[in-house]
Symmetry: C2
Subunit: 92 residues, 2 copies
């Protein structure tokens, strides 16, 4: 829920690749997994970290779980960075 979790989630290359995949639209856990040379269990682990960081959310349909990018949290991270770069905001 905080930036700590979000930045941690973004720090792994597999998780960033997952987010890039989801940019095009929602995908099931299995479809996501098919893009990587890893077990489904490992993909599930990464999806869980992204979900806890609110970077993705899930959407259950039949016996598939579709994942989608949560753009608003991406925006929050951008704001944090903008503030870092902008500086001086709490000045008299």
């Amino acid at each position: 829920m905080g930036f700590a979790e979000t930045f941690k989630a973004l720090s792994d290359p597999v998780r960033r690749d997952i987010l890039v995949l989801l940019k095009q639209g929602s995908l099931s856990a299995g479809e996501i997994g098919s893009h990587f040379d890893m077990t489904g269990a490992t993909i599930s682990y990464h999806l869980n970290i992204l979900k806890k960081a609110d970077l993705i959310f899930e959407n259950r349909q039949k016996n598939f779980i579709y994942y989608e990018l949560n753009v608003s949290v991406v925006e929050e991270v951008m704001l944090w960075l903008a503030e870092l770069k902008g500086g001086n905001e709490h000045e008299a």
Copy 2:
């Protein structure tokens, strides 16, 4: 030099705090260290990671080493996030 290193560097709370400190202007390694309850060696380790990620650069003066925020790399990260959020950029 790549996003991998940059996001990894941003993933640690101590390192993000260091960046926030440097937002106000350059500080020596010792001054940075005085804000944390850690040994100088540990601070040096974190500064090195930030330096390798190009998020900060150093400026040697007398026997102090001053560190400064590298705004341009912060901007690059923001661009990566903007693209993630923007989607669709390589479409016909």
